[in-house]
């Protein structure tokens, strides 16, 4: 079965500094996969290479079997890669609805229209609204994103990515910075994400990772240390060594 | 042929003198833009202030030349510290547009104040006798003041480069230009560093404006007229770099002098077009780090 997302020998160096070392990775349809590793392991760099924000020094990225290594961000989004950012990257002064609608409209192909007012595009508005309902944000639809509590802003991040109807969803520390009172909400949203999307979560929070993931990849100093099921990873001695002093959950 | 070579030498000489003045004025802009990420379009105001201090000091107060030069440096540096603490520092994290607007506002204020205090005409530069006249160099006569300019600027530039390479302050500047957050996390007091560096850069600008008062005339519209050239030096040289703007300034000085001599009808046209071309080829400047 062709993996929905795959990297072969992905490498990235900045001069003498290697941040990605021959990464072999695959994600199947409907996967629930997590990427963990100590700080500076190169997780975000890896994600940036998947989305096209960073060009690898060598290696290939394949989406549904198609080589997308040379493609830019916008092209990859069109082919079905969506992502959220570790730090909220939202349109702070725009409404929650607009934040999601922008992506939806782009997918519909109507976002470049100059003539008729945006409000007329009912399908875009309805779809954006439905997404907000799914994430429990419909009451905030008209409000300014910058005014929302941090946890809800994280949810808007996810809503925007979902609006792209991605085949692959890359969630960069979805719960980062969220106060514990709002954490459960996010976890429930993650559980309820559509089953046909392949999801890769990058995170430090072991509770979240073990709750969510079916497979885990451990990245250390730019290279894959080991990959396996949560039980295998939990019992792996080398992983324990790497996390010595950092672990919160054995 | 003899005449052509002679004019080449003359152009090179005057071009280098002009270029060095441009550098002394603009280097502060490059460092503070690279260090603080602040778009300071009003940098020319400091150069103009230095020029006015010199010319007023010489003609109205009869100060000795070295004293007037020193005053130009220190008064402008001191004034810039006040401005930085009171106004500039509040805008370090502001949007670029606001920084641009703020500095344009400063230019307007400075231009108006200069007009009110000194009138619209160019300031006469009353140089002391020992820098006037001709200076024989390698079998030719050159204007003594220009020779002095080149020599003095060379010393200042060497001192600056040495200071940045060898002193603790210089190391901190280089670290902070490279990675501000990192520098803060290892305990560098960036606020004080900014103020100190800003003062140094502005003082140098004042000094450059004073030294170059003969080449770049001191009049109220100074900051507007020469803004483009200072920005060109910095953007072609590369933000935060020391060597880059030096090369850029020399290139501009020589090219501008050559154009004025051989194709005066084209004015600064060639330089602007060349700037556009260079920036398109190398958006971060010849020696810059990032865009």
């Amino acid at each position: 079965m062709t993996p929905v997302l795959e990297t072969r020998g992905l490498c990235k160096s900045f001069g003498a500094l290697t941040v990605a070392d021959n990464i072999q990775f695959r994600l199947d349809a409907g996967a629930r996969h997590a990427l963990i590793g100590p700080n500076g392991a190169g997780k975000t760099t890896f994600v940036n290479m998947l989305t096209g924000r960073l060009v690898p020094s060598s290696g290939r990225v394949l989406l549904g079997g198609e080589d997308i290594t040379r493609l830019g961000q916008a092209a990859r989004v069109k082919r079905g890669i969506g992502r959220t950012f570790q730090i909220n990257t939202l349109f702070r002064n725009m409404s929650v609805l607009d934040n999601v609608a922008l992506g939806v409209a782009e997918r519909h192909g109507t976002s470049g229209r100059l003539w008729r007012p945006a409000r007329i595009y009912e399908r875009v508005r309805k779809e954006a609204h439905d997404l907000l309902v799914m994430l429990g944000l419909e009451d905030d639809a008209g409000g300014r994103v910058g005014d929302l509590p941090y946890g809800k802003q994280r949810l808007v991040e996810i809503a925007i990515a979902l609006g792209l109807q991605p085949r692959v969803l890359l969630l960069d520390e979805p719960a980062a910075g969220v106060p514990s009172s709002e954490l459960e909400r996010i976890l429930r949203v993650l559980d309820a994400l559509p089953k046909d999307i392949a999801i890769l979560i990058i995170d430090h929070d072991m509770d979240l990772v073990f709750r969510f993931a079916q497979r885990i990849t451990v990245l250390v100093q730019g290279g894959v240390l080991v990959e396996g099921t949560p039980a295998e990873i939990a019992g792996n001695r080398r992983v324990h060594e790497v996390y010595l002093g950092e672990q919160r959950h054995a | 042929m003899e005449a052509f070579l002679s004019s080449l030498v003359s152009i090179a000489f005057h071009g280098v003198a002009y270029g060095m003045i441009l550098y002394v004025i603009s280097v502060g802009l490059s460092v503070t833009m690279g260090l603080m990420g602040f778009v300071n379009l009003a940098h020319g105001v400091f150069a103009m202030a230095g020029g006015y201090i010199l010319t007023a000091g010489l003609s109205r107060f009869g100060l000795p030349f070295p004293v007037a030069l020193t005053l130009a440096f220190f008064l402008v540096a001191a004034g810039s510290i006040v401005l930085e603490r009171l106004l500039y520092s509040r805008l370090y994290s502001a949007h670029e547009l606001e920084q641009v607007l703020f500095t344009i506002g400063l230019i307007f204020i400075a231009v108006a104040v200069a007009q009110i205090l000194f009138g619209n005409l160019q300031q006469p530069v009353v140089l002391p006798d020992y820098v006037k006249g001709q200076f024989p160099l390698l079998g030719r006569d050159f204007p003594a003041y220009r020779v002095f300019l080149i020599a003095f600027s060379t010393v200042m530039i060497a001192a600056l480069w040495f200071g940045v390479e060898r002193t603790r302050w210089g190391a901190m500047v280089r670290a902070a230009v490279d990675n501000r957050a990192m520098a803060q996390s290892i305990g560098i007091n960036t606020r004080r560093l900014f103020t100190l560096t800003f003062a140094l850069g502005s003082g140098l600008a004042g000094l450059g404006g004073a030294l170059g008062a003969e080449i770049i005339a001191i009049q109220p519209t100074y900051p507007f007229e020469h803004l483009v050239y200072f920005l060109i030096v910095v953007s072609i040289g590369g933000l935060g770099s020391l060597r880059g703007p030096f090369i850029a300034a020399l290139l501009i000085g020589i090219t501008d002098t050559a154009c004025k001599y051989w194709v005066p009808h084209f004015g600064a046209f060639f330089i602007y077009v060349a700037t556009i071309g260079l920036l398109l080829w190398r958006p971060a400047g010849l020696f810059g780090r990032r865009v």
Binding site: A105 | L101, G267
Partner: protein
């Protein structure tokens, strides 16, 4: 919050008709101010063009005078040197020329960011200034082109010496320009412009062709600025170097900031207030005028970032909710 996007009501509110009513009232009640009024209308159009690219798309440019000046000179040269004197044809030619300059320079500079981009806008404007300054046979050099005769509009409305025709001409052209900009702002395209301004990284991550959208916006903005320039030439029957260079760009920026950036009507309020004040005050005390403008600019940046409209908004908000 911005008045654009998918939730914004695009219908014209009654308050939006007030400026036009006021303009018509001026025509009947203040006939001796029509020449100044026409000038203000031209600069409102120019400010609208800048607001589109700066206020909505977030591209900082100090060289918008290049398009304004090009439009002004195209109109002037075609009329004075080539005998093309139909006013609407001149507007079209100016728009076309400015559009060509806009798309070529925009394609190039919108690939850059930060100081480099700012520098390029300045450099391009400087090049235009130099060309106009030196190409004396065509542009009149430092003296400019004077005595430009323009045909009556539609063959019927002569440009009279009281400036009545000019005023109405400018008003109608401004109306068309305003209507166009307003449509764009409320459209999905306008929403993407705001998105680009708010968070360009995010826009890339949702698949928007940012560069293309910016080039389109830049070109439209250039064309409108060109039309404004041509209007100025036609109403003054003169074009000179003062339409190019840093000064008109800088002054326009001040006008727009004063009125309020990214609010559509800031482009109305700013030039109105600035030019009336300039007309009354600057003649007597030119140095103090620039001093005042500089101080106001610094004050606006420090304390009143939304300009006059921002202050009004704040007052209205406090009025509605006494706390």
């Amino acid at each position: 919050m911005q008045a654009v996007g998918y939730g914004a009501d695009p219908r014209i509110r009654w308050t939006e008709w007030l400026p036009w009513l006021a303009a018509v009232a001026v025509f009947f009640l203040l006939p001796e101010y029509l020449p100044l009024g026409a000038r203000i209308l031209v600069f409102i159009l120019f400010a609208l063009s800048l607001d589109l690219i700066l206020g909505y798309a977030g591209v900082i440019t100090l060289g918008h005078s290049a398009f304004f000046g090009l439009g002004a000179y195209v109109a002037g040269i075609l009329a004075a040197k080539f005998g093309i004197t139909d006013p609407l044809l001149l507007l079209a030619a100016a728009a076309l020329a400015a559009g060509v300059l806009g798309i070529t320079t925009g394609a190039v500079i919108l690939r850059t960011h930060g100081l480099t981009q700012l520098m390029l806008t300045l450099a391009i404007a400087a090049v235009c200034f130099e060309i106009a300054n030196k190409a004396t046979p065509i542009t009149g050099g430092a003296d400019g082109l004077s005595g430009i005769k323009i045909d009556p509009i539609f063959g019927a409305f002569r440009f009279d010496m009281f400036g009545r025709t000019a005023y109405v001409y400018c008003l109608i052209t401004l109306f068309c320009g305003w209507w166009l900009v307003r449509r764009i702002i409320y459209s999905p395209f306008g929403a993407t412009l705001t998105g680009i301004r708010e968070n360009e990284v995010r826009m890339h991550a949702i698949g928007v062709p940012v560069y293309l959208r910016l080039v389109i916006a830049y070109t439209v903005s250039a064309m409108i600025a060109g039309v404004a320039g041509a209007l100025l030439t036609q109403t003054n029957q003169f074009v000179g170097l003062n339409v190019l260079g840093f000064e008109p760009s800088g002054e326009l920026l001040v006008m727009l900031i004063l009125g309020g950036v990214g609010r559509l009507y800031g482009a109305f309020v700013g030039p109105l207030v600035y030019m009336i004040a300039q007309d009354q005050l600057a003649k007597q005390f030119p140095e103090y005028w620039y001093l005042g403008i500089g101080l106001i600019l610094v004050a606006v940046v420090m304390f009143a970032r939304g300009g006059i409209l921002g202050i009004l908004d704040g007052l209205i908000a406090r009025f509605r909710r006494p706390q």
